[in-house]
Each structure stands twice: as C-alpha cells, then as structure tokens.
Amino acid sequence: MLGILVSIVDGVLVGSVYGLAAMGLTLIWGVMDVINLSHGAMIVAGMFGLFYLVTLGLPAYAALIPVLAAGFAVGVGLYWMSVHRMIGRPPLMSLLATFAVNMVLIGLGTALWGTVLFNVPVSLPGVAWKGYTFTGTHIMAAVATSVIAGLLYLFLYRTRLGKAIRAVAGNREAAELNGIPTTQVLALAFGLGIALACISGALIATLFPFTVLSGTAYQLKSFVVTVLGGLGNPAGALLGGIALGLLEGLLTPFMPVSWTTVIEFGVFVIVLIAFPRGLFGFLRHARSR
C-alpha cells in the first residue's frame, strides 16, 4: 500500500514536468490557434542544450537559465520562419508548417548525433522515508517546475506584456484596435511556448537518459496532458500533467511499463472525443452552470 503511495507521489513529481511542456503547447494554441508539432524537437533541443552546458562545466540547475533564454530566442526565430504566414489560414497549413520544422530538426539531429543514448549526470541526495527513497532529481524538477509556472502566472497576470498576450488570445482584432502590436505579441507568445518546451526538456534530461528521438514520446505526452487540461488553458495543462503523472504512478506497480502507453493513448482519444474542452474545462463548465 505504502509502495503504491510512493509510486504515485513520484509520478506526480515527474508529471509536473510534463505539465510544463504542455503549458508551452497550450499557450501557443490559446494565443494563435496553432498546434505546434515541433514541440517534441524543441524538448529534445532543451535536453541537448543542458547536456552541452553541463559538459562545459556549468551546474545543471544554473544551466536552466541559458536554456530558457536560448529557447525563447529560437522560438521567436521559428515564429518568423514557419508560423507567421500561417496565422489565419486553415489548421492544415500550420500543422504542416510546424511538422516540417520538426522533420528538419529531427533529421539534422539524427545526422549529427545518431540515436545513441545520452545522459546528464546529476547527483542530488534523495529523501528517505520509511524504507522508501524519493529521488532528489525528481523533487528538484518539481520544485523548478513550480517556480517557473509561478513566474509565468505572474508574467501573464501582473505585467502589461502578459496582459497583452491574454488580450490577443481573447480577441485579436479588438486587441489590435486597442493599439496592441499583435504580430509582435504572437511572436513573443510563440517564443515563450518554445522556451517552456526547452526548459521542460532540460528538466527531463536531469531525470532520464534520452536520444534524439525521445522528443516524439514527450510531445505525445504533452498532447495527452493538454487535452486533459483543455487546449488553451495553461493552469489546466499543469493540472493535466500532474493527473497524467498520477495515472502513470498508479499504474506502474500493477502492469509492465509498455502497457501504460496503451492506456495513456486510450485515455487521450476518449477524453478528446468525450470532453473536447478538456477534463478540467468540462468540470469548470459543469460547475458554473
């Protein structure tokens, strides 16, 4: 019984990091109605960014800051390269444009690094509790996630720029009429979303070994999380991540790991069909009625 509880807590710790990646995805969707299919590639970019910074001698958690900054810069660049011309066009076009970026990046990655397993050595003492140990890196990742999510909240709700982002998400034309430079705001939001993908990738790299191709799996997890939390809802994404982690932690003691994927996708498709506004969106909607 205690073992299951420990497994669930660990699942929640890791799940919050998935939530971070999903927050990026959902921010981009909410502001510009684009589903970013290059999210997985950017998660991997964050992993490799951290790997090289740590190899250069930076402590892992200090290296998160340059990863965040670089992710933002890359994101703004990607916006102008691939997404800008897609705004307001049918969803097929933006899906394909971001997918194409994903193909290019993953192709370059496999050509450069192959599909070898990489590992960032981080050693943190764990917390022992009644014969069980909570891994130190998992706790630290969850702490970092909470800090970043908190900062994002402050940014979106307490600064002018954040309010501008929310205004554009709410109604782009009205925002434009009120003098908000919407195009720049879109680029900013995309950069922010990519930065979140990179930083969650960097955090995942401190937890598990990774390859160039790991991005696909984490991107799919972000979709599951986003759909659980409701597309376009950052707070829901964090909750969705925690819910997914909870599910994983709950299932791990009972079945082989390979089956959890099947269940995750089952949940994904069912939630998508039954509650397209997300599980939490659905609950909130039901309560407000």
């Binding site: 394909l96 444009a97 994903n102 193909m103 370059l108 069909i273």
Partner: protein
C-alpha cells in the same frame, strides 16, 4: 458512362497503370521493378490520403495505421492460419475498413486540429497495443517462412505476382479517387471541406459521408500494406506504424496539390524518386528527412496549391484535362 470514356483523365490512369506493368517486364528488370513497387506504394498512400485531406478537408496524420494493420492481419492469417495471400489481403482490407468506420464514427465528431491530434493518438495507441499483443508477436513482430511463397510458385515468381497485384491496387486507388471526385459523394465531401456547417444545412449527410470516406480511404492502403509486408516476410510494430511514412504521404499530397486527382500521384512518384536519389548519394543519405521537411515547409509557405495548383493558375484550361 460513354461521356466518362471521353474524359482524358480516365485514359491517363489506364495508361500509367499499363506503363507500370510493362516497363519492368521489358528485359526482366528487377531493380526497376523494386523502385516502381515503392513508387506504387507511395501513390496508393498519397491518393487515398488525398480523399481525406484534399476532398473532405480533414488532416489525417495517422493514415499509416491502416497500412500497418492491413499488413499485420494478412501476415498473421498467412502465418498462423495458412490462408492464401489474395484472400488474406482482401480480408485484411475489409476488416481494417470496418475498424476505420467504427473509429471514424467516434473521432470524426472532432474537427480541424482536434481531429489531427486524435489520428496521431490512434496510430500511437495502436502501435503501443500491438507491441504488447502476444498473438501478433509483441514488439518482436512476425516472421514469415519461405514456404509462404510456395503457393505463388516460389519466391522469384511470387515477387512478380506481388508487384502486379500492387500495381492493380494502385490503378484501383486512382480509379476510386476519380470516381469519388466526379460523383455526388465527392461533391458532398468537398462541400464539407469548404464549410461543414453550410454543407450540413444544405442537406449533405456529413456524419455518414465522413465515416464512409474515412473507411474508404482505409481499404486499399490496408491491402497495399498486406502485400508489402507479405513481400518483406517480416512485420514489427515500429515498421508497420511508422509515423514518418504517414508524413511522407502528406508531403507527396502537398507536393502534387491537395484535392486534385493527378497531383498526389505525381507528387508521390516525384518524392519517391527524390528519396531514392538522396538515399543512394553518400553525402545525403542521412539528410533525407531534412530535405523532405524543408520541401514541405517551402510548399506550405509559398505554393500551398502544390504543383497542380501552380499549373492551374498558369494554364487554366488544364483544369479540364488533368483533374
């Protein structure tokens, strides 16, 4: 019917299919046959995907799930139940179509990006399931023994038979796409693609049409998958449900021009040629995905109508000749 015979597109389909049959026969050219077989597979996938993307306006990122499931059903029937190839391939097609119809009733309630996400989920979910499904060999997959080729008269003859069957499936795909495009059904689909709510108000049975086209776009790819994996005599989850193949089909459709009949096929052949050239050139063999991606990005940004869209704009009369 007679009027249909006068339309050049129909004759073009027949001519291309015949060319696929005759070209490798001349001089028994096995290398050419292998290249054309792959091209035929791409044409089949792209043409059937175009039914969804081009006609109905629904982006299916997981179209390879039909190909893989067809392959699995066929290889399993041949291996464990000693079914003859053609019967196994046909049953595989029918079963996958049925599964697609049932899936379709569920996920086609979703629109736009939500649908696209669901199709990725379906493909990955099926892949993860098959990797755990013991009767289909789990993640190790199924190997066919060389005896499976006996009913076809040995491997050498069997490979030719499979090739002709594949070309037949390609011809049928093109014919089906042609037929659907010019029927009331196709008109309804394109109405859905342009404005689903308006189509519904005007009396197009959108729900049934969408489920039907989803299921129809599953049948021939499943048969093609059956033939393809019988030929390789091996099937495993990662090969069968490879999202990269889905994407390549999308690239082919976009390259040629979505919503046209000829476009996806031309795009598929062109893409296959490009791919094999890149694969054989030492310097580029690792950059095949990069180039496909860059190509897709350029098309989406600058020529969203693809090759056919460009031709139609340049010479509007071609609209009637090349559909």
């Amino acid at each position: 019917m007679i009027r249909a015979l006068r339309r050049p597109t129909l004759w073009l389909i027949v001519a291309v299919t015949l060319a696929f049959v005759l070209l490798p026969l001349r001089g028994n050219d096995v290398a050419l046959r292998e290249g054309l077989l792959l091209a035929a597979v791409y044409v089949i996938l792209a043409t059937n995907l175009n039914l969804m993307i081009g006609y109905a306006g629904y982006v299916n990122f997981g179209n390879v799930v039909f190909f893989g499931l067809g392959g699995y059903t066929c290889v399993w029937l041949v291996n464990s139940h000693a079914w003859p190839l053609v019967a196994a391939a046909l049953l595989a097609g029918a079963l996958v179509s049925l599964v697609a119809f049932l899936f379709g009733l569920g996920i086609l309630k979703l629109r736009g990006a939500y649908f696209a996400l669901a199709t990725i989920g379906v493909n990955e979910g099926v892949k993860a399931f098959v990797a755990n499904f013991a009767p289909w060999g789990g993640s190790a997959g199924i190997y066919l023994s060389i005896e499976a080729y006996q009913p076809l008269g040995g491997p050498a003859r069997g490979l030719w038979i499979i090739y002709f069957l594949m070309v037949l499936v390609m011809g049928l795909s093109l014919l089906a796409s042609y037929g659907i495009k010019n029927a009331k059904f196709g008109l309804g689909l394109r109405a859905i693609g342009q404005n689903e709510d308006a189509a519904m108000v005007l009396g197009v049975p959108t729900r049934r049409y969408k489920a039907l086209i989803y299921s129809a776009s599953a049948f021939l790819p499943a048969v093609a998958g059956a033939l393809f994996f019988f030929k390789s005599a091996f099937i495993a989850p990662d090969d069968a449900f490879d999202l990269a193949l889905s994407t390549e089909a999308i690239v082919a459709v976009m390259l040629g021009g979505q919503g046209t009949l000829v476009g996806p096929a031309v795009g598929a052949v062109f893409y296959e040629e490009l791919r094999s050239t890149l694969l054989t050139a030492q310097a580029f063999s690792h950059f095949q995905l990069v180039i496909a991606g860059a190509l897709l990005l350029l098309i989406v940004q600058f020529v969203p109508g693809g090759l056919m869209g460009w031709i139609y704009r340049r010479w509007p009369r071609m609209r009637r000749i090349l559909e």
